[in-house]
């Protein structure tokens, strides 16, 4: 980002996440380690959505489809006895990227509400496909017998935590480079004024499609990590409600900042964790909070953090 306060915020967050396991160990409750791991995985997924939503201005309501494709790729490979982790992650990224390429090729011909509907339609197609294939568990989902073999024991919560943390840090840092690169400048300008970018000589569709594919691939990677944590995948991963949750994380955290959506993911799952213990109506409370957040400050939680810093 251009805003140094956002960058500082990102490094501070990475710092906290790096030392958090020490704290959890001190408390002696490894359960929280798993919760934070899950938060970081969704943080990666939310960042991938932010790339197309916050930077390129593409409102996808089907982004969970890549989460599902990444997860199912791992599950299906291990179902057929492939245990190699590099195969798992490589395939999850490749298949998601390919799916994003196909979906993007069709949906990027439209924009606005129509783009939203087409991405939703694609994710619903994949959702019903996942339900209907009984060989892969259908509605019941598919269990994964063992995590991806990477030469590390991903069953160990602490190991998984740091694998996910390293991935998050890598995606965040590469993401910052990308949005400030020549490529990043093009997709950001396209968000505001595509016709001008065409007139100036950019073949804009191929830049948008590339951003879409990168986004899908990163989200697929998050899906593969998620499958390794839960050792189970089911069609609910792909449901459009999931896509909606990703949108909430990005918007509540702060669009177009990369780190904002990570914070959004952490807060959303934190609320889910805390509130669902009190009441089954917790999504209503989250909805009300989101309403307030969007009305008060359009820049999300990250806006509050960075603005206050500037005022101080």
């Amino acid at each position: 980002m251009d805003n140094p306060a956002v960058r500082r915020c990102a490094y501070a967050l990475l710092g906290v996440l790096a030392v958090l396991p020490l704290l959890a160990t001190a408390i002696g409750d490894p359960f929280y380690l798993g919760v934070v791991t899950r938060m970081m995985i969704f943080g990666i997924a939310a960042m991938s959505l932010d790339l197309i939503l916050g930077f390129a201005g593409l409102f996808s309501l089907g982004h969970a489809v890549y989460l599902g494709i990444g997860g199912y790729t791992v599950a299906i490979l291990s179902h057929y006895g492939v245990t190699n982790g590099f195969m798992h992650f490589g395939a999850a990224i490749a298949v998601s990227a390919f799916a994003a390429f196909v979906i993007g090729l069709v949906s990027l011909r439209t924009s606005g509400v129509f783009f939203l509907m087409i991405t939703l339609a694609f994710s619903q197609m994949v959702y019903f496909l996942a339900i209907s294939i009984n060989a892969f568990g259908g509605d019941d989902g598919l269990e994964i017998s063992a995590p991806s073999a990477l030469g590390l024991d991903l069953r160990e919560p602490l190991v998984l935590y740091y694998v996910v943390f390293a991935t998050l840090a890598l995606v965040l840092i590469l993401g910052f480079r990308l949005v400030n690169s020549r490529f990043g400048m093009v997709i950001r300008a396209v968000k505001y004024n595509e016709s001008r970018m065409i007139a100036v000589g950019f073949p804009t569709p191929r830049y948008k499609l590339t951003a879409f594919v990168i986004s899908g691939a990163v989200c697929g990677l998050a899906g593969a990590l998620l499958a390794n944590q839960t050792l189970f995948v089911s069609p609910s991963l792909i449901q459009w409600v999931r896509s909606g949750e990703l949108l909430i994380m990005v918007i509540a955290g702060g669009m177009g900042t990369l780190v904002g959506p990570v914070i959004g993911a952490i807060l959303y799952l934190l609320l889910e964790q805390v509130l669902s213990g009190w009441t089954v109506y917790w999504p209503g409370i989250v909805g009300a909070l989101l309403l307030v957040l969007v009305l008060v400050g359009k820049r999300g939680v990250i806006g509050f953090i960075t603005e206050r810093r500037r005022a101080a």
Partner: protein
């Protein structure tokens, strides 16, 4: 015809029953400023759309620098040196003036599938963009978001973005639209300087500006070119006077 930088032959565009451009033969010679004038509804916007690649002609051809570009998309025309500005200010308002021009420079500096180096620290983009802003006397305003520039400054920036690609031809769609007398004079001076090195095709309502700047004028009325020639010849042309200039000179 052979020394024409831009030439159309029988260029026609219909919208339903309306013939917006009716078999237009236009030849813009290399060098100098060629103006197209015409009353509202004459088909100027349609013509620009067809020249720049936003509208597909129903029939006829467009040749640019000896190449048939009739079926080239807009971005490819820009890549070949066909720069344009818009009637309604069309810039990236959320970015700075320098960003806008730097993006225009970038569009002509190979592909942009470069993901690592910061574009804003890239002197290969920033330095030429700065030079253009300096020439436009916008260098003091380079780091302001475009939304904070005055209307006249935005009009100038619009021209600067078109200049960034070092175009062979600059198609300017009413660059004086909505400007006050002072801003207007500034843009006319700028165009006078630019036309010494770049061919300009100017679509403009401001007759004083057109006759001050133009080396050649074409008059578009009801979708047809009714006259082409030197400004002096156009002034004398009785058909043009009847169709168009009569009102203006009476005013």
């Amino acid at each position: 015809m052979s020394d024409a930088l831009l030439a159309t032959a029988g260029l026609t565009k219909r919208f339903g029953g309306l013939v917006a451009n009716d078999a237009i033969d236009l030849a813009v010679r290399r060098g100098g400023l060629h103006a197209i004038i015409g009353p509202n509804g004459a088909g100027k916007t349609t013509l620009i759309g067809q020249l720049s690649g936003q509208l597909r002609p129903d029939s006829g051809t467009v040749h640019f620098a000896g190449e048939d570009i009739t079926h080239l998309p807009a971005h490819a025309r820009a890549q070949r040196g066909f720069g344009r500005s818009f009637q309604i200010t069309n810039v990236v308002a959320e970015m700075t003036a320098l960003d806008n021009v730097a993006l225009a420079v970038q569009a002509h500096d190979g592909h942009s599938f470069r993901f690592w180096r910061s574009a804003r620290l890239d002197q290969g983009l920033r330095a030429p963009a700065q030079a253009i802003l300096a020439r436009l006397q916008l260098d003091q305003r380079a780091d302001l978001p475009v939304s904070r520039l005055s209307h006249g400054e935005k009009r100038v920036l619009e021209i600067g973005m078109a200049l960034a690609g070092r175009p062979q031809l600059l198609l300017l769609d009413e660059p004086l639209a909505g400007t006050g007398p002072e801003e207007s004079a500034r843009i006319v001076r700028l165009l006078d300087a630019i036309k010494a090195e770049t061919t300009i095709l100017l679509i403009e309502h401001d007759m004083d500006a057109v006759f001050a700047l133009a080396d050649a004028v074409s008059v578009l009325v009801y979708g047809r070119i009714i006259a082409s020639g030197t400004p002096a010849a156009i002034r004398q042309n009785p058909e043009v006077q009847k169709a168009y200039l009569g009102d203006e000179e009476g005013a």
